[in-house]
Symmetry: C2
Subunit: 201 residues, 2 copies
Amino acid sequence: MTAPTGRRERKKAATRQKIADAALRLFLERGYEAVGIRDVAAEADVAVTTLFAHFPSKEALVFGHDQDFERRLTEAVTDRAPGEPLIPALRREVQALVRHCTGDGSAPIWRLIDASQTLLDYEKSMRLRHAESLAAAIAADLGLPPATTACRTIARFVIDAYSLAREAADPEAALDEIFRMIEAAWAAARPSADPVGTTEP
Amino acid sequence: MTAPTGRRERKKAATRQKIADAALRLFLERGYEAVGIRDVAAEADVAVTTLFAHFPSKEALVFGHDQDFERRLTEAVTDRAPGEPLIPALRREVQALVRHCTGDGSAPIWRLIDASQTLLDYEKSMRLRHAESLAAAIAADLGLPPATTACRTIARFVIDAYSLAREAADPEAALDEIFRMIEAAWAAARPSADPVGTTEP
DNA sequence: TTTCAAAAGGCTAACCGTTAGTGCTACGGT
DNA sequence: ACCGTAGCACTAACGGTTAGCCTTTTGAAA
């Protein structure tokens, strides 16, 4: 984590942070649509082109930590205790993620997102990309060829679980319900394992 | 279907068709990104504002029949034979839809879509909207309050099935595999029914 | 130390999708 | 026959995004 290289990267990170902070401040003050890229650039005291050198789009200003999400999901697969079954490990991580983004700390940002169709769309697209990474991680973990249908399917279901639970009135209960379904789906996908003893002859 | 009203609507429909045709022609010729809205408008011999009066966005020019997709899915639920179980009915319809869009007739359009990230993103967003409609239809059919977690979940899974099968090397096999998982998930969601006899005490 | 290539940032000007604002014309119901 | 309005056109602009070109900083080679 501690960079072996020096000053340039620190300055770059600082600029990026300055832009992200300015953007979030303005968005929370006036709302996402009411703030223009040029406003953000001015507030951060950088040129518009500099802003776009750090963030690929206006929406990305809000989702600065999307890589964390992706990393945490794949690591939940790769770094889990040896012998621990796949789905419960994913369930734990998704639960943590949902708790994090329904917690008080993240509430203003999510109010911002839920108020803008543009941001909602962007988020869903992002999640689908994450599903691909997750599918690859699952396939690798199981020693399967990448992009197996079953792996991609389960990855999508897990992302769906996150998305639906986040929107549900009672996220914890929703997560319970959905992951019960995912467990069943996963068991049906691989007639080898024995989750509760439903092995077939 | 045959309009009870007269000339105005016919002219309107003709204009819309003219625009859609011109757009498709240009897109297939030069590629989606290489064609501007102004090009399409000129080719269709209408004003840009007229174009946007008929289509809400550039992407919508390509997905002119998205309402068909939504309608067919919900009708697969509401119009199925009395007593027919839900999931097989959905499976049949999804299979038909996948066959349709992997058939030779639709091949060029889908090559167009798969070549543009913008269009792919738009398509996924569309499907998520369709999932909401499907969830509502399922909930209504089962006499449940709308937007139940289980219904929304199954609806998402069905949409995932379509999306994944379309991209798979062997769509039919993928559909088999995924719907086996969906059946299991559905059975797990409602401990009342008895799909294979997995009733709990 | 000097030198140099690349990175980071800036400025201008434009492109492209999209949307007012305005007005004209033809159609359809009264 | 009359009038409201739907369909369409035209101009201008707005806002996100990018290309072209230039300056400064910085890391490292010479």
